[in-house]
Each structure stands twice: as structure tokens, then as C-alpha cells.
Symmetry: C3
Subunit: 392 residues, 3 copies
């Protein structure tokens, strides 16, 4: 809740292991555009804060979902007497939805609070079929372009936000796993691969170096992130082992050909603050895959996917949007990336009740995870807390 | 659990903000008379304590619902070998239900515990179709007349307890809101008003003074409470506001006439320790409305309503009771006061996990709430705690 | 999770009141043999630890159900490429199921972790149709024979494990009650007694001594336990009491004859660390009853029953197993011992949220309970804790 005075704002990065609720002062996807119509109210929890979204004359706004007066949650019984206001159902405190200002109190029309107090108003931007909200104190906020993967806002590309689903685990489990190329073992039975008749590795071995040093840091003035070293790695399409006289074998469902090695090596993954992954090309040549892990609370996040492709004409753009919604949402998400959600839940279940990272025994392949945690710890704009208390 | 010795009892008022479990050493409504028949056992939680009620030869008694011996909860498998006893199903410890005394142990008929140890026995009084229990240590307890709104026990009036419903929020949210005349905004769409074709204000403005100083304190030897200043207020039947070029209007569904101002101004509300409201006249001229907010635990209370009217003959009394059960329970509760429960839940939801009062920004109309909290803090007989630890 | 070095192990008994999770370094029943088939995986929580069982070539093994690497819980999506291994579904870390050794990582086949790190492997023994696991750090563990009631492993007896059910209360409530002969009051309406036309006491009175001093301690080199003093007690088949002019009577459903006193007096109960009861003869002459209270977590345990009888030929053994599964599982458990679970739940409910023992008022008959708690506190091999912190 904002007071009248604004103390000088200190932007100080915090540790990834303290960021159970995510990083403050960043932009996050909140909704797909299709999920909020004109004059529709949508309540959402982001980074442990309750927000209320409304689309007014086409533009989306967001305010704190809690009346200043006694804390009544607007969305339990929302009341709007005009398009651009919200009135608390309890004592009729009425606010400008566009900026959070308290504009009227019927029982005290001359109250000293009017025009002075205001609800927190969250900066919102809508692009590529997605609604982004800025959760933080910076005013003005930094540009959205600093908080999305490079290329996401490129005008030559058509990008279509298509997936927004809940996942009952901490967002860091998803981020750690998303950038880690060794988690691909989980995808070996995914129907996506069979449908495209595509050989896919079950593991990934670094060649001539290690996973700690071959990852490229990007820490210039724009988005901060890491680019993987798949080009310096060798995909593993089959693996045999022996244990006490028994032999076991794991392998790609579709046997690899020469092209498979080349194709996989040309894929580049990168991860970006506050928690977004870019994979290109993916799911097919000529397309780019973006995904986000958006903190809801300590035990929940939302998973967003957008896919992009260069399009020139409006007809091309419409055709691509149609393809995303009818084909890739099914094959790319339901038959592939949804498997990631299952994996992350298994880690949440296995480590439930234990502090983040406390049961880990990292191995040679975990440079990805360590380097990501280090970059995230150094370049975020502050750790989100509940009432000032960090939670691990 | 009572020991053999009784230390000198100290009655010391505690702070309202510490009273999540209510105030100790007061009388509270526990049941409607109709909810407990002859020899019926009813388990209930009040102020965080588990009580077991039984009606024996017409009179209601209450004991702690937990065997002295190993803590077995009687009501999970109650066993009564005589009308006036309860036997623990586990080891057959048998108690006098009328006073809690341990009267027999089959496996140790000469035990030194018999006749010495006893369950806590809660004083009970039944009046006006309601069963009141005293939760505390005072022996004897203070008179019931000190803990109910004035007039409730008046022999010339017929008072009918009619509503006893659970509400999943702390009792203080309900008490704060009940005495606050500005919460009436929530009732504007209630069918009760339409059914009686009654104009009803959407807000209330103090005139010539402020809400802090016009409220009357009653702190004599009997009930302690506050009487509102509606007579010095101006009801607001419609209100207009402007925001960024749009105009909004809120108004009473039924347009007001001259009588409406007069009628509303003649209503008097008052709040009484440990947490009861009186509104008169209400719901119509000639009737009085009583309601209670009874703490169950930190997150739950029970809401009771009784209505009264002067009656002379038995036929009048019976007719009034009939009217309460067939008409007012529907129109007065279902179509009006139930809306209060929804409002209180919205505050509980909005402030969930936050300390009581921590998100408040009070305004000029909140004198009611502040004065009530001050009176309650000064005149209660102690704060109820769990095992000696106050909870906010 | 085991490290590379093993610090010198200290075996130090801990207090029963701290043992909410049970005693460490003991053998516990985990499963009935029939509940785990060849190559079947069974996940189980014992003493707050997650175990995964597998039967390989007839023998049952158990490992920690959590991958060393990132904590993924194997059983959320188990994968076995050979009979004797388990592979983590997330990054394909592959372990020898027989000893927990890490045998392969496809993405780092030469990892320094391989052959060095291992999952905790729990010693397992299968006997009498039951699978026992050792939860602790002793290597090798003490003999199973030290942790089961005397006679359980006697080769002349056929013992059939038959019941394994969950109970939503702390294991100590069950152990306290099991050895306490006064809890028999709960059984008075059990169909088992009617079906066998058997008089059964409702209480039990010690004669010539007290329950504290007549119980026999067994603390030699083998199992540690206590033998009851029923032989020095007098069974009570009926009891009358008076309260405020009313007379009450409790009695055995089947009136006792001379034989009933003799028969009951010849039953001997005994309790053994880490939490097992033996009753002989029971349920009929010539049979022995064994039961265990196996800690799952602070609020749950599992209840096991096995019945035994001397058998000479294989046909005798098969006939007895058939009798156990068709007759005693129904009459002995469903119609008798299941009542104990209800009783224990009533104590859990009545004392919920309160520290163990905090509401007790023990009487003359509670020597059984006190002596058991003392013996258990003196002779266990350590208190099980969550991450080093004892829980009451």
C-alpha cells in the first residue's frame, strides 16, 4: 500500500535462494490477451500479491485487490458504477481504476483521504497476445524490453502467446530445469517426437570443456541472461549400462541419423531474468519458442508459452496464429512441454518441507544450473518478500 | 482442567487486538433452545474450548468435552449409563454431568481421584429460546444480565432466539462491522428492502461533530457498551461522483420520501460486551433486533439473532414466535443480515495471513470502530488464550 | 543421504515423550509379503522417511525414495531399465536397487560420483508373511530377533501376518493403550465376543499390590519388554455406581461363569521395543496374537497383526493360514481390534494440538503406561527426528 511520501528507492539484487516469491521490480506475463475481455475483471496472485485486472476501452489496467480502508478484497464482490472505477462493496470507497486514486466516499465526501491516498497501481503492457504486469516500486518502471528474451519484441516477427497454465511447485524448480539440457531424458516418450518422426537425444555431453565455462553470459544494458553451449555438446541418443551382471539400455524412440546430431546441435537455448526461456529453432526450423515461470506464491507458479515466426503479410500472421492455436498448442505443449510440469512436481514432492537446494548433490552437468543461479542472484532488481521477510 | 486448589482469581481486562479468541469470563450464546432436546448431547467449540452440552430433566448443562484421564473426547463416542452421567468410552471414567465430578472408575472403585477431580463444568442459563454458557473461571460467574444488551431480559418483552449460523471469519471483523453504520452500503440490493418497499440509505454522514465524540459510552454497573449517534447523522440516499469525465451514481433502490429520513434517524444501534448488537426499532417499528458474534476459534465465529416485541397474553407470545420463525427469519436474516456474513468473509479473505488491523487506513467515519475497540479493551474480564499464549 | 565418510555412530536412548516419529535403529514391519509381488515397487513412509521397496528375484530391497541429484521422488514416475536398478526419470541417474549405489549417468558416464555416492539402502528381512525394514544407521543392524516379541521367530510355530492398516494418530497413543488392560472397556459390544459366546471383563483390578510393581521387566540381551500382571488381577465383569440418586450398571454382554475368571487370568500380555504387543493365548486357546504400531509420521501410524499357532505338517500350516485369512482377519480384527483404532482416534482428536501427555491425569491403573514409557525411554536405540530436531 503506498503512503503519501516516497522514500528514495534502493534497487539491490538479492539471492536466488531467497527468491521463493520471485524477483521484485520486474515485468511478468500475467494473462493471455484472450483471457480478459472489455470491462472484464480478472483477479490474480503474482509474487504473493493480489492484483485485480480490468480492460477499459481496450487497455488493461491492474490495481491491488484490497481496499485501502479495511482490507476488503474487491474481487469477492466487485462493483463498478462507471467503466473506469471500482467501488468497494463494503463502504463504497471508490477508486479510479486507471491509477488507483481514491475518488469518492459517500459517507465522507470531503474526506482528507480523497485524492491523497491511492491503491497501488501496477504498470501493464500488452504485446504479442500477452498481458505483462510490473510488480515493484520503480516509477517509471524499466522498459519491458529489458525483461523479455531478445527478439521477443522484434517487429518483423509474429509472436503468439498461447499457453497459460498453473503448476503446483516453486518457480525456481521450473527455471532450473528449463535451462538444464540434461532434463531432456523426460521427453523420450513424448508423442510430439513420434508425430514428427524426430530422433531426440536422451542426454547431452559437453565436449572439450565443462558446462560451467562454456555458457555465455549476456549482461549488457538490455535483458540479462545466459546462452547455452549445446553447440559444444554431444547429444546422446542411446546409452547402455551394466549392473551386477544385468545390462540395461536407454534410447531415443526414433533412431538417429547423421542429420539428427547436426539438427540438435544447432538448437540454442537461453534463459533470461526474471525467469524466461528462449529456444530457437523450436519446435521446428523457422520457429522460436518462449516460456516463462511466473511466481504465484512459495508453492505455485504459472507457466506461459509463446511461439514466434517471421511473417510479412496480415494473412501470414493470421495463418500462423491459427497454426499455433490448432497445432502447436497441442503438439508442442500437450505432447511435449507438459511433461516438464510433471517432472517439476516430482522434485517438489520429493523435497517437500525441505529448504530449497538442501538435498542436492550436483554433478558435472549442473554447471547450467549453478551459472544461472549466480547470474540471477547478481542481476535481479531485488527479492520479493512477504511483509519484508525473505522466504527460502 | 481444574486442579484441587483454586488460586486467587485475577480479573484483568486485555486488549481487543489480542482477543482473537474472544474475552474470557463472559456469557455467550451457545445454542438455540430448539437445538438441544431432552437427553441430547451437543458438542460445541467456544473460544477455542471444546464443550459438551446435555439437557437433563429440562435443564441444560455443559462440561469440558475431554476426559480427565487421557484426554479422550467424549463426543467421539459418547456413553451415558444414567441420565445424569457421562462415561468415557475408553476406560469408563464416569462423571456427574451436572457438576463434572468424577463419580466412578470400574477398574479402581476406591481411587483417590474419585470425588476429588472434576471436569470443568460450565455455568449455563437458558432464556428467550437461547442457551448461554459462561466461559471462564469466576465462581460464581457474574449475572447474565451484565453480559447481554439492556432490555434483553425485560419480562414485559417476548424475545425469540431464531438464528444460529457459522461464519468463517474472526468474530472481531463482525463486531467492528456490525456497529459501524457505514457498512449499510452492502444492503442496498437486499430483498428485505424491496419486500417492505422501504427506502434505505447507502451511507450515513455525521452532522455537527464527529463519529468519535458523539457516541455514548455506557460503563455503569450493568452491561458495558456504546450507543450510536445516528440521531445526529444524516442518511445518504443517493450519491454522485465523477472520475476522469465519467459520472457515477449510487442510490437507494426505493427512492426516499420525507418519512424515510425521520424513520432512519430514529433507529438506535448499540454494541455490548462481550460482543452483542442491539438495533431498535428493527426490522419494523415496535420490534427490537439482537445479534451476537460468538468466537469459535481464531478463524470462525457463530452468528446469533433474536428478535423481541412486547407481548401481554400467551396467545400474543405464540403469535409473535410464529411470526419470527416464518417471516423474520426469512426476510430479516436470509434477505438482509446474511449479507453481513458475506461482507465479513470478504475482509477475512482480503486480510488473510496478515495481523488483525495491519492493513487498515481508517477515515473520518471510523470513530465507531475505534471507540468500540477502546471500550472493549477497557471493560472486558480478560483475553481468552490458547494455553496462556495470546493470539493476534 | 549418506556422505562418503561415516562418523563414529553413537547409540543413545532418547525419551519416549520426544519420540513422536518413533525410535531410530530398530526393525519395523513395513508390508505384508502379499502386498509386494515380484518386481513390484511399493513406496512407503516410515518414521517420517520415504522408502521405496522392490522385490527382485524373490527378495525384497528398500532404498530412499529420493534421487541424490535434485531430490526427485522416484515413485512419482518410476523407471527400471533392468530388474536390479532404478533410474531417476528426470536425469537418468541409475542406481543399483540392491545396495543403492549410483551406477550410471548417461550425460556424464565418467562422473566422479559414480561408485562413490549411494542412496541410503535399508536392510530388509522377510519372515512369517511380513517384510521388516531397519530404519537407522547401524551397519550391520542388530538381529531382527532383538526387535520382535519372544517366540515370533520360533521355528515350531507358524505365524501368519494378516493385517496392515493405517491409523490417523501418533503411534504412542496406540502403544500406551495396547498394553493397558483397562482399555478393554471399549470391547464390550464387539461382535467377536458374541460370536464366540465369550464373557469378557469390562475392567481389571490389581489385587495385592499395584500396577506399578507387579509388571515384569525383561531387559536381557534379546528383546526388551514388559510382561503384564493379569494373573495378579481380578477381572471385573459387571459394575454398578450411583450418582445423585440414579443407579447405573455396566456389564459384560455374556454373563461370566467360573471358567471366565480363570480363562481371563491365564491370558498374558507383553509389550516390546520398538512397539509390539504379544497376547497369549489369543484369540483362542492355542493361538498367539502379535501386533505392531509402526510410526509413519507425527500424526499417523500403521497397525499390523500376525497370529501364530504350532503346526507340524505343511498341510497344517496351510490350513492355519487359511483360517487366519478367512476367519481371524474378520472376527479378530474387523470385529475386535478395529475398535482399538477408534479409541486411539478419540484420544488423538481430544488432545489435538496439545503436546503429548500434557492433558493427562493418571490414576492407580496407569502403572502399565508409566512403566512402559520408562522402559521404552531407557532401552531404545535413539529417537527418530526430522533433520535433527526432536518433535514432541
Amino acid at each position: 500500500m503506498d503512503g503519501d511520501r516516497k522514500p528514495e528507492l534502493q534497487i539491490k539484487p538479492g539471492r536466488y535462494e531467497d527468491a521463493a516469491l520471485g524477483f521484485r521490480n520486474h515485468w511478468y506475463p500475467a494473462l493471455l490477451s484472450s483471457e480478459i475481455g472489455e470491462e472484464q475483471l480478472v483477479p490474480l496472485t503474482l509474487l504473493g500479491e493480489n492484483l485485480l485486472f480490468k480492460r477499459i476501452d481496450g487497455q488493461v489496467y491492474a490495481i491491488a485487490d484490497q481496499c485501502l480502508h479495511r482490507g476488503f478484497k474487491f474481487s469477492t464482490k466487485p462493483e463498478c458504477f462507471t467503466k473506469n472505477t471500482i467501488t468497494c462493496w463494503l463502504h463504497a470507497f471508490t477508486y479510479n481504476f486507471r491509477n488507483g486514486e481514491l475518488v469518492a466516499i459517500p459517507s465522507a465526501p470531503d474526506s482528507r483521504l480523497i485524492g491523497k491516498r491511492h491503491l497501488h497501481s501496477y504498470p501493464v503492457q500488452e504485446i504479442n497476445g500477452m498481458v505483462f504486469a510490473f510488480v515493484g516500486d520503480m516509477d517509471p518502471p524499466p522498459p519491458l524490453a529489458h525483461d523479455v528474451p531478445p527478439g521477443f519484441l522484434d517487429p518483423g516477427w509474429t509472436v503468439v502467446g498461447a499457453v497459460n497454465v498453473p503448476s503446483a511447485c516453486n518457480w525456481r524448480l521450473a527455471a532450473d530445469s528449463g535451462f538444464d539440457p540434461n532434463h531432456i531424458f523426460i521427453h523420450k516418450d513424448d508423442h510430439f517426437l513420434a508425430a514428427l518422426d524426430r530422433p531426440f537425444p536422451i542426454a547431452n555431453r559437453i565436449v572439450g570443456g565443462d558446462t560451467f565455462h562454456e555458457i555465455t553470459e549476456v549482461t549488457g544494458p538490455g535483458p540479462k541472461g545466459l546462452v547455452d553451449a549445446l553447440g559444444k555438446s554431444e547429444p546422446v541418443f542411446e546409452f547402455e549400462f551394466e549392473c551386477d551382471g544385468e545390462r540395461g539400455r536407454m534410447a531415443s524412440k526414433i533412431p538417429p541419423n547423421e542429420m539428427a546430431y547436426l539438427a540438435y546441435g544447432s538448437i540454442e537455448g537461453s534463459i533470461w531474468l526474471p525467469g524466461a526461456l528462449k529456444v530457437a529453432p523450436w519446435p521446428i526450423l523457422g520457429m522460436v519458442h518462449y516460456e516463462w515461470y511466473v511466481p504465484v506464491d512459495e508453492k505455485n507458479h504459472r507457466y506461459f508459452i509463446a511461439w514466434g515466426k517471421p511473417c510479412e503479410t496480415d494473412a501470414d500472421k493470421a495463418a500462423f496464429a491459427h497454426e499455433v492455436h490448432t497445432k502447436w498448442k497441442y503438439l508442442g505443449y500437450e505432447q511435449f512441454n507438459r511433461t516438464d510440469l510433471i517432472a517439476n512436481l516430482g522434485v517438489e514432492t520429493g523435497t517437500d518441507g525441505l529448504p530449497y537446494r538442501s538435498v542436492e548433490n550436483l554433478f558435472e552437468g549442473d554447471g547450467y544450473t549453478l551459472v544461472w543461479r549466480r547470474l540471477a542472484s547478481q542481476h535481479n532488481r531485488g527479492v520479493q518478500t512477504r511483509r519484508g521477510i525473505p522466504t527460502a
